[in-house]
Symmetry: C2
Subunit: 242 residues, 2 copies
DNA sequence: CGACAGGTTGACCGTTATCAAAGATCGTGG
DNA sequence: CCACGATCTTTGATAACGGTCAACCTGTCG
């Protein structure tokens, strides 16, 4: 509770509509929940979708906005975050091309509960709720793609909640690092996918603690910090036993 | 990480199949994701669903089980919980009649990540994944019902995660109490929907802390503990400013 | 009535947030 | 291309918050 701090976002109504038809087509064809369809069906989808671009740092939607569209990222990265009841920001996830957001928004007359900001030059494909409902009823295979995505996000969110509820910060950090090498596989070395400030927000801690714990893990010989953002895992098993 | 403690569940393969056709029909007709359909369609659904009963405390599924069914509660209550990487249990939610579970399970060849136990005499309606996929493609309106449910659970889960990440225990308890009166509306008094032990697990804390914080809230004049499980809210605004 | 799980209470201390200040890094505009 | 400011990161000192352990109490149910 206490004071609610609203970050100074750029006004979000001056985004640049991308009217190039080719660009829009490229955008739609990149969308995983649609691109299994036939050509004629894709054209139908093209008609109800719109492409919009956002500059780095620009706000896409914010909590309290009327939420009536599905947003699919076609280029760039988008940060989804929430403000808690006491006004603290928590990073929920980062969307990459192909990912979508819109949440509850999609099925209920409701408002957004989270914030979305472009982290870099980003272009987004939107579909209005009314149009989407039609598509879902007409092409059940789209529903199933969305269901798969939702259920895996639910899984992810519940796993994260359980970690917050039961693991201490050091363990949460260790688990995060371990998941980073999964993603970049092959090598034992990777670059942090976000700033340590954002990482702190994502892991429910503070930048100070992130910094200190990383040095503790390094002292213990589990990792090596090559540069600010580049980390090498020296002892994965040791790390996971932390 | 450390030791993984597996609770001593009763064996879960000796549940009692409920073969009464009337009972099964009653079960199916209670299911919100189906009951908007026509009579002939309901009969089709009856054919692919099965009713199963569980005794109090019996395990329905556990993490690691092959997960290939949708489970819909028709009577009783079911506790869904996870074990964290370090082996601590966290209560995720309690299912009531009409609620369903099965998660990712439904759309991917995968295993359960959570545990489900009957909290009392419970009967459950199940649908195999393969049958469900057929129903979803044939009746898109079912997909949409499931999507609505998933998106609202996702919302809920992310809200909970954000609370864990950003609020202190006292605030989480206060928010929980505030939501209890919403549910039982009208009155300023309600009964805790679970034991304080389970509540501690749900809120990511310990029974000791729950006990202490409740007395602190009482000392501060925000609430009154009438009995172990019965609480009256005296000052909701004060409580929420905690 | 007795046993057992659940609940309370107290003492203690480990973990992590906070505040402050200095140092590194990045992006921007001159 | 460099310099500047803003932002991110590190480091230290401090204290609050909440977990743990142990003991005792209490309600519930067979």
């Amino acid at each position: 509770m206490k004071e609610i701090e609203i970050k100074g976002h750029e006004d979000h109504h001056h985004h640049h509509h991308n009217h190039g038809a080719e660009a829009h087509e490229a955008c739609v064809s990149l969308v995983p929940i649609f691109n299994h369809l036939e050509k004629e069906q894709m054209e139908e989808i093209m008609e109800v979708t719109h492409s919009v671009s956002y500059r780095k740092g620009e706000n896409i939607y914010r909590a309290g906005d009327q939420s009536d569209s599905l947003y699919i990222v076609s280029e760039g990265r988008v940060k989804i975050y929430r403000l808690s009841e006491s006004g603290k920001e928590q990073l929920l996830r980062v969307l990459h091309p192909g990912d979508f957001t819109g949440e509850l928004a999609l099925f209920r007359e409701t408002i957004h509960e989270a914030y979305a900001d472009a982290m870099e030059e980003t272009s987004i494909c939107t579909v209005k709720r009314s149009d989407l409902q039609g598509l879902l009823l007409k092409y059940p295979s789209i529903s199933i793609k969305v269901l798969v995505e939702f259920s895996s996000r639910l899984e992810q969110s519940e796993k994260q909640a359980t970690r917050f509820a039961t693991e201490k910060v050091e363990t949460r950090i260790a688990l995060f690092l371990a998941e980073c090498i999964d993603a970049e596989s092959h090598s034992k070395e990777f670059v942090l996918p976000m700033s340590k400030k954002d990482l702190a927000s994502y892991l429910g801690t503070t930048p100070e603690t992130i910094s200190r714990k990383l040095f503790e893990l390094e002292d213990a010989g589990y990792i090596k910090q090559k540069t600010q953002k580049r980390i090498e895992i020296l002892d994965l098993d040791g790390l996971l036993l932390t």
